[in-house]
């Protein structure tokens, strides 16, 4: 299929979501298996919110011809420079194709999409607990909190220190960062739970936010209930359309009427922590 020029809606207010061509500024390996993609995409950067995602049309290459778009959380929104950043793990055909992009190449992206994180007025302290590529999704929340003078503590969990991404970036936006990893044994859930309890009890926390680990999610669900703190989790699921039309991306949730499927793309990807099921 030859690439149609995306219909850029003239009226951003009326049509806030759109297909657009971002220009690659940078697409470099962060560490083994992860890439950092910086796009010049002023229209996207103007409207994107923390926790939202874009749906990327990974370029066909000789080897890979991804057919559907691939969803990626926004890792950073740089409104000043009109840029969007993504942090992605290379796993299959789509992300392999993505990794072939070079500075100056165009990338067709669609968004911004989904329901992001909510910061309620009066909240003073957000505790983020992220693992692996889940860091990517939580990073914009830290920046949003900083803008609103909400304090952020971030516990980053990874396989080993080399896989610890965005630590610097989080510190730079004023977050207090605690890192744990599997290599030195600090990342087991019991230890992390102890750390979280310590922070909640010592400093008070208004929001527990998480992404990227089922076991951390379960643990934080319990603590949120126990301490009566709000919790939000960003979830992932294979997607078709990305805007709520195809019902491909559903996951089961606890709802007032019992278990029900909800669309990760449109009803989420950020959900109240108490509604998420472990997977």
């Amino acid at each position: 299929m030859s690439e149609p020029a995306p219909k850029a809606a003239a009226d951003l207010e009326r049509f806030p979501v759109g297909e657009m061509i971002g220009t690659v500024v940078e697409n470099t390996a962060v560490n083994d298996g992860y890439n950092h993609l910086v796009l010049d995409a002023p229209r996207g950067a103007a409207t994107a919110k923390a926790g939202q995602f874009f749906h990327l049309l990974c370029p066909p290459t000789g080897e890979h011809t991804p057919f559907l778009r691939r969803p990626m959380s926004i890792y950073r929104i740089d409104r000043g420079q009109g840029r969007l950043e993504f942090l992605y793990k290379i796993v299959g055909g789509g992300t392999k194709a993505l990794a072939t992009l070079k500075a100056g190449d165009g990338l067709n992206i669609f968004g911004p999409l989904g329901v992001g994180f909510t910061l309620e007025d009066g909240w003073k302290h957000v505790l983020m607990v992220a693992r692996g590529v889940g860091l990517a999704t939580l990073a914009p929340l830290a920046e949003l909190a900083a803008e609103r003078d909400v304090r952020v503590t971030a516990i980053l969990s990874a396989r080993s220190p080399e896989f610890m991404m965005s630590e610097e970036y989080l510190r730079s936006v004023g977050a207090k960062v605690i890192t744990v990893n599997d290599a030195d044994g600090t990342s087991n859930v019991d230890d992390v739970e102890r750390t979280v309890r310590g922070i909640v009890e010592a400093e008070g926390v208004d929001l527990l936010a998480t992404c990227g680990s089922n076991r951390l999610l379960l643990m934080l669900q319990c603590l949120a209930r126990e301490y009566g703190i709000a919790g939000q989790v960003a979830l992932e699921q294979l997607m078709g359309c990305g805007i709520g039309m195809c019902f491909v991306c559903v996951l089961p949730f606890r709802t007032p009427d019992g278990l029900a499927y909800r669309r990760v793309c449109k009803d989420g990807p950020v959900f109240p922590i108490e509604e998420a099921l472990s997977w």
Binding site: V17, T65, I243, G244, M245, C246, V248
Partner: protein, 313 residues
């Protein structure tokens, strides 16, 4: 100026382009001006609410989408109250898509959704007929005719029947739908297929089998549209692998009076606008005054056979 309007039975459309059922949603209102569409087609609803198929629900295979969604929906009452009323703000005719497991249930749901704000009923007969061993209505001319007839008895709205490419004998089913009172035929729904993960020795879809849609299906469904258009006198709406204006024009040339775009909406969300613009540009370039003049305009004389060559040599 190209006249882009087309007539589908009693209904006149501003242009021949609309979405396929289940590949469209409110989300697109944030993306483009829905008033530019020829019609708006809603996702199929069933008499009882459904949660849909087990996960995973999609696998891509080359140029195809293989999906098993299972028609999740909240039933006719919610549809009329919430969905149809949302679309009343838009000018294109609004098409409800309905499905049911028995002839009677088809009649009842047709009556239930024949409410203000709903202009046309598209009948999704690719669903199992519980009165006949679960074989889909669309696979069976007799069941198709009975269901469509019952529906037309229960509603005053125009009825479009959506055929299935899995039926062996498309013209016969098409004629049955016409005999039952359909005002148009949508050709066609998804092709049944499956995908297997050889490593895991498991199906790739939660539902085991799914519907194949997207570009890979175009040659087969284009032929079906061609074949059906020649065997009925009601309009055909082409649907299967249409991603570009060129695809849409091919369907029109083969005999379609309008087209539906499905999977492409997931890839290029504003594709339908490109299709409309592209069809108009094609007509302008070719000096075709009305897009409806494309319908059936294929020059389908066969190529010369060897015997004919021998004569002319």
């Amino acid at each position: 100026m190209v006249d882009m309007s087309v007539q589908i039975g009693r209904v006149s459309l501003a242009n021949p382009v609309m979405p396929g059922s289940g590949t469209f949603g409110e989300g697109l209102d944030d993306v483009m001006d829905l008033n530019r569409l020829g019609a708006i087609v809603a996702k199929t609803i069933t008499p009882e609410p459904r949660e849909g198929s087990p996960l995973p629900r999609v696998v891509e295979y080359k140029d195809a989408f293989l999906g098993a969604i299972g028609i999740p929906n909240k039933g006719p009452e919610h549809f009329v109250r919430e969905i149809a009323s949302f679309y009343r703000q838009f000018s294109p005719p609004f098409v409800a898509s309905i499905s049911a497991p028995t002839v009677e249930a088809f009649g009842k749901i047709a009556a239930d959704v024949s409410k203000p704000g709903i202009d046309i009923l598209e009948i999704n007969i690719s669903c199992p007929n519980l009165e006949k061993d679960g074989k889909a209505f669309a696979m069976d001319p007799d069941a198709t005719e009975k269901a469509i007839r019952r529906i037309t008895e229960c509603t005053d709205l125009p009825v479009w029947a959506k055929l299935s490419p899995n039926a062996g004998d498309a013209p016969t089913v098409a004629q049955a739908a016409e005999a039952g009172g359909a005002e148009a035929l949508t050709v066609a729904n998804a092709m049944v297929g499956m995908a297997i993960d050889a490593e895991a020795m498991r199906p790739r879809l939660g539902n085991i089998t799914g519907g194949m849609t997207g570009p890979a299906t175009k040659p087969v469904i284009l032929f079906m549209a061609y074949q059906v258009a020649r065997s009925v006198s009601i309009p055909v709406i082409g649907c299967g692998g249409i991603s570009t204006a060129e695809d849409a024009i091919e369907y029109m040339l083969a005999g379609a009076s309008a087209i539906q775009a499905g999977t492409v909406n997931f890839i290029h969300p504003a594709a339908m606008l490109d299709i409309i613009d592209g069809m108009e540009a094609y007509c302008r370039r070719k000096g075709i005054e009305r897009v409806s003049d494309l319908t059936g305009a294929l020059d389908d004389d066969e190529g010369m056979k060897l015997e004919q060559l021998a004569k002319s040599a």
